[in-house]
């Protein structure tokens, strides 16, 4: 390795996905949708490769900040998926998530972000086929929209999260 930070200098692979440079982040709850994505994998349901999954315990853990930060800094799409309503492992986490994400969606245009770049859905651990459908459709939608220019900020300050633990 000659370069100590390959991230900044690594040439993008010449593939269909990377030619367009599309990156989608998926926030999946551990109990349902992460399992659903696993099920899709076990069943070898082919999917586009643009999605990068972040495992969270519950969609109730979803801070709208995570979505905002991703989209402001140029991730091309954000997909949040959890347990079906009334089937939450923590009983009510996805209800909180649904409210927050509905409210948050209304703010996206004010931030200068196309609302079509954000989607939330419910997929259970048994619904591998459904997961394939969700990923395929959302990836197609983001490819249609093309790369996200992001939002120019005067200062990144507002995005700093105070974490007392660190």
């Amino acid at each position: 390795m000659t370069d100590s930070n390959p991230r900044s200098s690594a040439p993008a692979e010449d593939t269909a996905a990377n030619r367009q440079g599309i990156k989608i982040v998926g926030f999946l709850c551990n109990w349902c949708s992460y399992g659903g994505a696993d099920t899709a994998g076990v069943c070898r349901f082919k999917q586009p490769t643009d999605l990068r999954v972040v495992r969270i315990p519950c969609t109730g853990r979803m801070d709208p900040l995570f979505i905002a930060k991703s989209l402001i800094y140029g991730v091309d799409g954000v997909l949040v998926s959890g347990c079906h309503p009334r089937d939450c492992h923590y009983a009510v986490g996805n209800f909180y998530a649904r409210r927050r994400m509905e409210a948050f969606k209304a703010f996206l245009p004010f931030m200068g972000i196309d609302t079509r770049r954000f989607k939330y859905t419910w997929v259970s651990a048994s619904e591998g086929q459904q997961w394939q459908k969700v990923v395929t459709e959302f990836s197609e939608q983001i490819h249609m929209l093309g790369p996200n220019p992001g939002v120019e900020l005067r200062s990144g300050e507002i995005l700093k999260v105070s974490s007392g633990l660190k």
Partner: protein, 652 residues
């Protein structure tokens, strides 16, 4: 931090479509990564030793394994790094199998995705901190929901092991569907003779508390410490006093009550003990049919009862039980064949379900074990069985195989020949599915020894001609249309999930599939566990099953409970929320949103209030973390910094 990255080839599962060597080489360039390699099977013993060796030789402080889903092997690798002296939470997994190599064939795109996922895992790991679990006492009592054969087996196994068991059964009696069966395949054992002693055992064991005619009202708590509210439904009979003498049944003037036990074939009294061997043998009044409860003058049962057990003023009662583990054995329900218009849509009395025919065959059934037609009570001569009614039929939303029907048809056809040697039986089938010990031989006996005519093909229509039913179908092997004039048609009605399965799953916080069957934790390796710790599955509530499989799963679930109860304490999950008191503004929002009541007020010196998490109650959902305005409460192992670090890697 010194981080080591281990990329698994998983044979060719990953290496087939991901350049694992390149992933490892790229990983060496990530911040804090001092060691990276790829390995054939990282989860194997030498693979784990490889990690442990690297930890020792390279002085690693954190480990990333890029392999399969963390839902599969995270515990394995956590144990491995722990053995090498690291804290088990100084470990992260990148899922490059289920989420990468198995879902795409584009090697370059896959490799680039795998590199991204490893980069995200490393970024998160840099914010990980060692976490330590504490110990919590286990309440060594078991709750069994459902008193069918699976639940009975589980309850008896645990009771034999000396544990206290609470059994809740929705019906007035235990025994479930098996209690309704006449004989069982492939041995032609009498069902109630093999189940009866087990039912009696449940009643007699001192450490089993049985709540029949009861349902689960609510469940709270977590593994080792559940609190369950049970609704004891109104029976209008004081069961403490009732001796089950049956005098009330004989004298009850309401003689046309629904006979649920006989699947609607007979008529019961409004006050009823469903069958002679019922456990508990207690009477119950069906409020819909009781004259007294419907404003008419009666009260005969109250007058006749020798122990004065009848109580028309009785109300539902809620009792609370505390348990440490739960076995769910709620069984199945029968598919309702009324949706098949071509089979009469349930209008023909002589087109009956498999379970109804079972009651007809049974000596305790409506006809005392003599085969008669429900319509006119005549002995049938020609009997047609139709398989796959509500199974393997996507048009009625039941694409799955019910698994038991092929066998029970063969059994019923054999029994029919035993009862009525002059009769002829015909079976219309799609395929014969008989995978089990002595199962296929049994079907062959039906065909060869008992002369049951098997016709391969679907039945298109059933209609009435005079007193008989005409069954029109195809014989696809001969390629001809077939018409059979039958006296009785038995539909091999399939298995569907138990009524109310979804509601119970929501109370238990377990998942179920689109048909209402409960989801096991892993289809092969964790077949009786659910994703909710301390909740186990047994029997047909998890999927269609025959008796041997249900019993086996009942025992399997019991052994899981016994291994849990072998310990006095369990380790708590340290991935819980933690409050930074310096940042807490005491708004109380976390207290409001916590689904488990795990956050409370704490008073510091000078009366300053702060939020405080009860680590043993917190389940780690993180709703509080997302709610907290100053982000003072952080879910450990999924802190804002950790999640944002992962996101950051994609915001290049």
């Amino acid at each position: 931090m010194r981080i080591g990255v281990f990329v698994c080839n998983c044979g060719t599962n990953i290496a087939g479509t991901v350049d694992t060597k390149k992933v490892a080489a790229e990983a060496l360039g990530f911040a804090d990564v001092v060691y990276a390699t790829n390995y054939m099977y990282t989860c194997s013993e030498p693979g784990q030793q490889e990690i442990q060796r690297a930890i020792a030789e390279q002085g690693l402080q954190g480990v990333v394994v890029a392999a399969c889903s963390p839902r599969m092997h995270e515990p394995t690798f956590r144990r491995a790094v722990e053995k090498a002296g690291l804290n088990r939470y100084m470990f992260e997994m990148a899922n490059i199998r289920e989420h990468v190599s198995w879902i795409g064939n584009d090697r370059e795109a896959n490799t680039s995705k795998a590199i991204d996922l490893v980069r995200m895992a490393v970024a998160k790991l840099r914010f990980n901190a060692p976490l330590f679990s504490s110990k919590m006492p286990v309440n060594k009592r078991l709750l069994v929901i459902g008193g069918g054969v699976a639940g009975i087996q589980a309850a008896l196994d645990c009771a034999d092991g000396g544990m206290d068991v609470v059994m809740v059964e929705r019906q007035q009696y235990i025994g479930g569907k098996m209690a309704k069966l006449d004989k069982t395949f492939p041995t032609i054992d009498c069902s109630s003779c093999i189940l009866g002693p087990k039912m009696v055992d449940v009643a007699q064991k001192e450490n089993i508390t049985l709540y029949a005619a009861s349902e689960i009202e609510s469940i709270s708590g977590y593994i080792g410490n559940f609190t369950v509210e049970i609704r004891k439904k109104t029976t209008f009979v004081n069961w403490e006093a009732c001796t089950g003498c049956g005098a009330c049944m004989e004298k009850c003037p309401s003689k046309k009550a629904a006979d649920y036990f006989n699947e609607g074939l007979g008529a019961a009294r409004a006050i009823n003990i469903p069958f002679p061997q019922a456990i508990p043998k207690k009477a119950m009044i069906d409020a819909a049919y009781c004259r007294q409860l419907n404003g008419k003058k009666c009260g005969v049962c109250a007058k006749i009862c020798p122990v004065k057990a009848i109580d028309f003023e009785m109300k539902d009662e809620i009792v609370t039980e505390k348990v440490g583990a739960i076995i769910v054995a709620t069984g199945y329900d029968l598919f309702d064949h009324a949706v098949y218009g071509e089979y009469g849509g349930g209008r023909y009395p002589d087109v009956i379900s498999g379970l109804q025919y079972e009651r007809i065959l049974s000596a305790s059934g409506p006809f005392g074990g003599h085969i008669r037609r429900p319509s006119d009570g005549k002995e049938p001569k020609e009997i047609v069985f139709i398989s796959c009614v509500g199974s393997r039929d996507a048009s009625v939303g039941r694409p799955y195989c019910s698994g038991i029907c092929c066998m029970y048809i063969a059994k019923q056809a054999i029994l029919t020949r035993d009862h009525l040697p002059e009769s002829n039986s015909y079976v219309f089938y799609m395929d014969i599915r008989s995978p089990g010990k002595n199962y296929d031989e049994f079907v062959r006996r039906a065909q060869e020894e008992y002369g049951v005519q098997y016709i391969r093909g679907r039945v298109g229509k059933i209609y009435r001609r005079g007193e008989r039913m005409v069954v029109q179908g195809a014989d696809t092997l001969l390629g001809v249309q077939v018409e059979v004039e039958a006296d009785l048609v038995v539909l091999a009605t399939g298995v569907e999930s138990s009524l109310g399965a979804g509601e119970l799953a929501e109370k238990l916080r377990i998942s179920y599939d689109q048909y209402g069957f409960y989801m096991e934790s892993h289809p092969k390796l964790r077949p009786v566990e659910t994703n909710t710790a301390g909740v186990y599955l047994a029997g047909a509530c998890q999927g269609p099953k025959d008796i041997p499989s249900s019993v086996a799963q009942g025992s399997a679930a019991a052994s899981k409970v016994q291994s849990l109860f072998a310990h006095d304490t369990i380790e708590t999950n340290p991935q819980v929320a933690l409050v930074n008191e310096r940042n807490c503004i005491a708004c109380g929002k976390c207290i409001q949103v916590c689904p488990f009541g795990a956050i409370q007020w704490k008073e510091l010196r000078g009366g300053i209030k702060k939020a405080e998490v009860l680590a043993s109650v917190c389940q780690g959902c993180g709703v509080c973390n997302a709610t907290c305005p100053p982000k003072a409460i952080q879910l450990q192992h999924a802190t804002d910094n950790q999640i944002l670090a992962e996101v950051n890697e994609l915001c290049a």
